[in-house]
């Protein structure tokens, strides 16, 4: 039996792979530039593959991967039937509403929101009873208010430097985001003797 990891490409995957290596697993053929898709450790007990972050919950929910490591932002935006076992406290940042300082959120009046996260944005403004039009943007979200496509944006903010460089600032914080270790609901039960130690090891690393 083998335990499969689905990792979200990018910064978080690098940290997750570092964690796995710290736990003593050796991936001989892995390097950042490698074009391979699946990497197996030397003992043949675990393997991981890199996918786009919104796909991680899908792979885990359907059982194509047993364990996934992915940001909370993705889990909020694409809810999946998985166990969210550990907060890894890596890749920490905040989900924020950002816009122009001198142009605060006009509560009670309709406004246009540009975001990569339409579900999170909709849920947040609904609970505030704020009327909004939500425009889904796939990248460079900060551009939207600058050229007048949107009044404000909803996006993850890590240091805030991109916002600052573009004359934007945080208007409201929605929630904290960090990477989570998620587990397929069937695998946790049927491969328990292999998954439990891995989770424990991750827990101890924190």
């Amino acid at each position: 039996m083998i335990i499969r990891f689905a990792l979200a490409k990018g910064r978080v995957a690098r940290k997750a792979i570092e964690l796995l290596i710290d736990l003593g697993y050796v991936f001989e053929d892995y390097s950042e530039k490698s074009r391979k898709l699946i990497f197996t450790d030397t003992t043949g007990t675990i393997e991981f593959f890199l996918v786009k972050s919104p796909d991680v919950p899908t792979y885990v929910e359907k059982g194509a991967a047993d364990i996934g490591i992915v940001g909370k932002d993705v889990l909020l935006e694409h809810p999946a039937q998985v166990y969210e076992m550990l907060n890894l406290n890596i890749g920490k940042c905040k989900m924020c509403v950002a816009g122009f300082d001198n142009h605060p959120i006009p509560y009670g009046k309709k406004m246009v929101v540009g975001t990569k996260y339409p579900v999170i944005a909709k849920d947040y403004f609904h609970t505030k009873n704020q009327l909004v039009d939500i425009i889904k943007i796939n990248g460079s979200v900060e551009l939207a208010p600058l050229i007048g496509l949107a009044d404000c944006i909803v996006d993850i903010v890590e240091s805030g430097s991109t916002l600052k460089e573009n004359g934007l600032s945080v208007l409201a914080e929605i929630c904290e985001i960090s990477s989570r270790l998620i587990v397929n609901q069937v695998s946790l039960k049927t491969k328990r003797e292999m998954i439990d130690p891995i989770i424990k090891e991750f827990e101890n690393q924190l």
Binding site: E61, K62, Y83, E84, M85, N184, Q185, V186, K189, T190
Partner: protein
């Protein structure tokens, strides 16, 4: 021409799959029958009110329509409610034992960007009027055996009890919102977020420690039972522990305990489950294929208080698994195809009728082309892969094998092996 005629979430079932479905269906129904269950059927439509008042299925997931009287109907989204109502209407004596089995399609209007099946074929049982651990044991045993009998050995049942968490929460005076947030976290085994959330609540530390242990109450039954005992803070919780240890002991007696583990982290998704609930998994299949439990207070709503327990299998998910693992029953019955010249018509129909009366499949066609052309056109058809071809021509009966025609005296319904 009609294009764009497929509807997301609805599928045709091909003849091989339907054959398998009928075989499996028959096998399961005879299994349930051998335990005394009677098969019944309820209407495809139900009233909207039945489901909305029950609050067990989100209203958005229901397919709604309005009949000519202006009454709002739904396509049956679940089988348990209608079967319970049927039992209540037809068997008013609440002391009676009633065992029903059913096979039905249910409909859920899931909203999802992906294509999810919205027509689900369910097969299941409901056992009314018995509140004993032996009844729970029988229901769980039948759930396990339903998969075993179809050659699936990697079966795994996760048994929980909604009471354990509910009785704990009853003593802790949470608001409805706090309760539902905690339920959601416990269901997802999200210990990190439970800890953060509890920090904000005014609750003694020992109670917080108990809640933090709830998501970890899963795995080997005896170990879980020990952990559960340590967490009980009232008698009702102790009764839960006693009840599920009795069920487990029963399963040990009948030799099915190896398939069962516990998970007390199930909360109450279908609101009617009042007691034990369980899910059935196949090891390499990512989603549960069986779901069941005890619902002792549902029948009261139809005027007859009576305990009940049951389960349903998602049959098409099981068939998908069986297909991937070459476990599906194959349709390999031979088909006898007889071509005749017009002058031989009555002889041909007589032969076919004789074959059918012996239980064979027989088809007759008029010869309007050369033998070889009939052979090649029929052999190219997937529906005739089990066919043997015969020709009744010039008063002779010919049988075809690999393009060679040989004269035979009669078609033998048994021994003619393709």
């Amino acid at each position: 021409m009609l294009f764009n005629y497929t509807i997301d979430g609805f599928e045709n079932i091909q003849h091989q799959d339907y054959f398998a479905l009928q075989q499996i269906n028959h096998k399961l129904m005879s299994l349930y029958r051998s335990f005394g269950y009677h098969q019944i059927s309820t209407p495809t439509f139900e009233t909207y009110d039945l489901y909305v008042n029950e609050d067990s299925i989100p209203s958005d997931d229901l397919f709604k329509l309005v009949n000519h009287q202006g009454k709002v109907l739904v396509l049956k989204p679940d089988a348990t409610l209608p079967v319970t109502r049927m039992a209540a209407m037809n068997h008013p004596n609440s002391q009676e034992i009633i065992k029903f089995s059913y096979e039905t399609n249910i409909y859920r209007n899931f909203s999802s960007p992906e294509i999810i099946k919205k027509e689900i074929t369910q097969i299941g049982i409901e056992y009314f009027g018995n509140n004993s651990p032996e009844c729970d044991g029988e229901v769980i045993a039948l759930a396990i055996r339903s998969l075993l009998e179809n050659g699936i050995n990697d079966v795994h049942i996760d048994l929980g009890h909604v009471g354990f968490i509910n009785f704990l929460f009853d003593d802790l005076a949470f608001s409805a919102k706090e309760k539902s947030t905690l339920f959601k976290y416990i269901e997802n085994k999200n210990i990190g977020d439970i800890a953060d959330y509890l920090e904000k609540l005014a609750l003694p530390d020992d109670k917080k420690a108990i809640i933090l242990k709830l998501p970890l109450l899963y795995g080997e039954p005896k170990t879980v039972l020990k952990h559960m005992e340590a967490l009980c803070i009232n008698d009702k919780m102790r009764q839960v522990v006693e009840k599920i240890s009795e069920i487990y002991a029963h399963l040990e007696v009948i030799g099915l305990a190896e398939y069962v583990s516990f998970d007390l982290g199930f909360t109450n998704q279908m609101n009617y489950y009042s007691d034990i609930n369980f899910k059935g998994y196949i090891n390499s299949c990512g989603e549960p294929v069986i779901s069941g439990g005890r619902y002792n207070h549902l029948s009261e709503k139809f005027g007859i208080p009576r305990p009940a327990c049951g389960f349903a299998i998602d049959l098409l998910k099981v068939i998908d698994y069986m297909e991937q693992h070459q476990l599906l029953p194959q349709d390999d019955q031979k088909i006898h195809v007889l071509f005749y010249e017009n002058s031989q018509k009555s002889a041909a129909y007589k032969i076919a009728e004789q074959l059918r009366s012996k239980g064979s499949i027989a088809e007759v066609f008029l010869m309007n082309d050369a033998k070889e052309i009939h052979v090649s056109s029929l052999k190219g058809n997937a529906l005739y892969k089990n066919a043997t071809l015969y020709f009744l021509t010039d008063g002779k009966l010919l049988s075809e094998t690999d393009g060679i025609f040989s004269e035979i005296k009669a078609i033998d319904s048994e021994s003619e092996v393709a």
